[in-house]
Amino acid sequence: MPIALVLPRLPQAASPDAPGRPAGLMTHAAASDAELMRGAAAGDRAAFGLLVERHGERALRVALRVLGDGAEAEEVAQEAFLRAWQAAASFDPDRAQFTTWLHRITLNLAIDRTRRRGSAPAAGEAALAALPDPGPGPEASAAAAEDRAALAAALARLPARQRAAIALAYEEGLSGAEAAAALDVSERALEGLLRRARLMLRRILSP
């Protein structure tokens, strides 16, 4: 049996002696995403749980901005993390950051879902229900809610990939190159998506 050929590629269990390898919750907290993914690939559910803790909100936000529906966004974000867990061993930190990889999974699922349902998203009503109240008083809240509803309705009229481009463009800490990689397009193609999306939004929202 060619066991010697197999052993060097086996994932190793978390060990406190191994440098850079998550070993416990205290170590996990300081571990990088790539280190946590190595732990997850070896079957460390706690390491993956910390990744969900770190990036769950981001995945949910991107899904919500593409789908415009809170319940669907939660389903998509759940499915994205489940797929990330199942494919943890194939994640290569030399090729992409974890966030880029997660964004790509999430966006693919969200865009697929919008294509399957074959219609515009739910005009942001569910998304609006999930929004925190930003206004100091009832009138300001009502005006803010109207603004958000108008924007959600305008976004709902865009093609899903343009909504995805907008979602990524306004995602803090994400570079243009990472956003393009998450959408699996060139940076120039991403600029084209953003240009068309902004042009359309301006036309829809202009009084």
């Binding site: 060990s15 919500l64 809170g70 902004r198």
Partner: protein
């Protein structure tokens, strides 16, 4: 740079010309200095940008908490991640020994080698198993 070109760049790169590609910044600055139309385009783009910053949907803390809980539950019931590479079934079979480290795998390999090389009992000899027992005293 023309106002039309400036408008395209505003939509592609956003309303912050300082962050645009280096080759476009000087042209944009020159146009803004002389063109009221370009300045109006910039103001409009800034308005849309501010609106998107403020009003794009945000998940509620409750939704984020639900997501984390739901993922934790599903991961707890899910099989371990699939192992890439050759001989996935063999890797899956060896996975329980992985936490014990290389020593356990080496011991398993040694046992497998010893079992495969050790000679079995002679066929047809009913007393063959006794030949391997330690005999404290010869009855004869």
């Amino acid at each position: 740079m023309t106002p039309a070109r400036f408008a395209r760049l505003l939509d592609a790169h956003g309303p912050h010309p300082d962050g645009w590609p280096a080759g476009q910044r000087a042209g944009a600055a020159g146009l803004l200095a002389v063109s009221a139309e370009a300045r109006a385009l910039l103001e409009t783009a800034r308005g849309l940008d501010a609106r998107l910053e403020k009003d794009l949907a945000q998940p509620s803390p409750e939704a984020v908490a639900r997501l984390r809980l739901a993922v934790a539950r599903r991961i707890a019931r899910s099989p371990l991640p699939a192992l890439p590479g050759r001989w996935p079934r063999l890797r899956e079979w060896l996975r329980p020994a992985v936490p014990a480290g290389w020593g356990a795998l080496a011991a398993m390999a040694t046992c497998a080698l010893w079992l495969s090389l050790s000679a079995g009992p002679a066929v047809g000899d009913p007393l063959a198993p006794l030949q391997t027992l330690p005999i404290a005293e010869d009855p004869l």
